[in-house]
Amino acid sequence: MNEAEFEAYVQGGGQVEAGDPMPEGYRKAVVKFIEMHGNSELMGVLPEREWILRAPTLQRKLALTSKVQDEVGHAELIYRVVEDLGKPREACLDDLVAGRTKFHNVFHYPTRTWGDVGVIAWLVDAAAIISQKALLKCSYAPYARIMKKICWEESFHILHGRDVILTMMNGSDEQRELVQEALDRWWGPLMQFHGNPIPADDDPMFRWRIKSQANEEARQQFLDGYVPQIWEVGLTVPDPKLAKGKDGVWRYSEPDWDELKWVVTGHGPETERRLGFRQASRVETAWVRRAVLADAA
């Protein structure tokens, strides 16, 4: 199959397995896309981990530990898929901490209060799930298969997020302020999360059916699903232009695409500190991997 035939094959619904012949460009694009997902799951763990230790009730502690555990598990599944495409896990982690590969914008920002914990579990996870559901149709079959387990586990996270938020919104004025303040800080990154609108025809990710949902479509789905939820509990969105038009399309202030680019290229407020933290732990535990994984037959 030449490249044109391959493109027709995947566009017609054809699936690709790990051992199949595939154009080098496709392999590279799949590795890059999936690796970024794995990196994001792993980096998302670090801000949340701090709050496990500070969770204010036994139930929240358990729920948050469970959520983070799922995310580490997702990273494992994802890096396994990348490894079967030829890039070992340690190489992925080396590139991540060296800043050579990317992870999603939202995980470059600080978390300041328990309000952030709720907003992340409710809205950041929601934004991610919308993208993840679209990946169930990815032409690269091993990835599409793990997305099924990932989506199922993420459904528990949204419930947890909603519960945390509703409990605070039904609590004291100070708690409601915590949520609103967190939402005000996270709105910008949330609107940037799905990426700037790119015409599908220009995007090789579409031509190869790695992605099957346009960035803007994902964002609209997010707004449609979650802005009403935000408003109905008495929260405001810090965008005076945000409104649903009569045509069903949400209008909003143009997100700061420069900020997005700056952040994902490694200049987020927490990027350096978090990558440093991850690298330090890796170094401390390198002897364990050598002892346990290396000398296995």
Binding site: G19, G73, R80, R145, K149, A296
Partner: protein, 95 residues
């Protein structure tokens, strides 16, 4: 070492591939498989298999040189024969 994990969703259901994981030996692999595919009680049983023990067979499943219509449903055409046999026996076609 890479291990493949197959999971049985309910008692009696077929074992289906769940995913793979890295572990130094079977003892570790079983412990990890339990966590990955059972911590929410979502599997009734698991098979944990070293990757190199799995042999893949892809199509063509058998050499398709001669027609083997006797192995397929569309290789049998009974309507005409049934009509003839009923005619002989003098019975009307059953609805």
């Amino acid at each position: 070492m890479i291990w493949e994990v197959f999971r049985q969703e309910r008692e009696g259901a077929p074992f289906q591939h769940g995913g793979s994981l890295e572990a130094p030996d079977l003892r570790f692999a079983k412990a990890y498989a339990r966590e990955f595919y059972g911590r929410r009680g979502e599997s009734f049983a698991l098979w944990v298999v070293p990757r190199e023990a799995v042999e893949e067979v892809r199509e063509p499943m058998v050499a398709e040189v001669f027609d083997r219509d006797y192995r397929r449903v569309d290789g049998y055409s009974l309507k005409g024969k049934l009509k003839e046999a009923r005619g002989r026996a003098g019975t009307a076609a059953t609805r």
